[in-house]
Symmetry: C2
Subunit: 180 residues, 2 copies
Amino acid sequence: MKLRKTDRTQRLQEVEDRFVDLWDTMSSLWGISPTMARIHGVLYITGQALSMDDIMARLAISRGNVSMNLSKLVEWGLVRRVHKRGSRRDYYESLSDVWEMFTLVAQQRKRREIDPILNTLRHCQEMLGELQDDTTAQERGKRISELLKFLTMMESLARRFFETHQGLKMAVGLLARESE
Amino acid sequence: MKLRKTDRTQRLQEVEDRFVDLWDTMSSLWGISPTMARIHGVLYITGQALSMDDIMARLAISRGNVSMNLSKLVEWGLVRRVHKRGSRRDYYESLSDVWEMFTLVAQQRKRREIDPILNTLRHCQEMLGELQDDTTAQERGKRISELLKFLTMMESLARRFFETHQGLKMAVGLLARESE
DNA sequence: TGTTCCTTTCAGGAAGCACTGAAATCATAG
DNA sequence: CTATGATTTCAGTGCTTCCTGAAAGGAACA
């Protein structure tokens, strides 16, 4: 054991902080708010079930903020509410499976962002369809249909990708159980 | 010709507005600012080369704003500066290939967002490596390495995807040229 | 070189978004 | 039913990000 206990604790804390900051930065990429990401970061990296007060203390944010963002995380399915016997408090813990988390976020974003876009594009196409004899309308229609083609293609690709992954994961799980 | 000319113009305008609003909404998904997206939207849907004043008028935004966002779009490679003979003004036109645009945005985002994340995660792993005898450190190390595994996998997948697409596109292009 | 036209820069201001903290609500135990 | 502990809500506030417009900069023409 090269490091003294206090040094080890400090080092762990440092990694935790770095990780939470990282999650914060990542939040824009995942399409969630920074604080939501930081809370999830703490829950993921510690791997423990924490109470609201734990999280308030670790991240130095207000009770209301924690409450609101935790409920969003639960709503998204990234975090679960758990209970500890003998305690009235709610505790919260993160999913641990990276794939599962990714899938959840991707689904949410598709529903909230991609689907409305597809609807709008289709609607635009309809409106342009009524101007078939207009050259400008034809050109614009072509641009929109190319976008639609691209997006639907990406979508089906993604769907197949997730299905495959689910299949793979199930297979791996079954094998592991049999070999026990 | 069912519709009168003024009606046609109005209808085209309506589609254009809807499209620009759509792009605006999409901007968060693509990781660019709303105005940048709207400018690109106008350029894409019209398919024309427009001047700064054209864009200012269509979107009702200030000269400075247009200037700054156009230069970002040019920097990203989504928009090209073109010149019209006999005019001192700069004109700007959008790429028309959806795939190309998507690739450009994806590359930018990877460079700006994914790569730093990978670096940080690796750095965290190093710091934890020095605490090999600590159980907590081991657990956290495992979580981080799972993330790394996931991200690098996604990255190589994406790279292969783009390479394939480039190959496909080239092939299609060659065939089309031969058949002329 | 001076003039004109066009573009870029940037300090100051506006708008939107997230956070706080206290009051209201809810749940459990006695 | 009341008291206590825990969570949620939301109006007010602070912060960040984006936008404006005027002034400076640059390029083409005469």
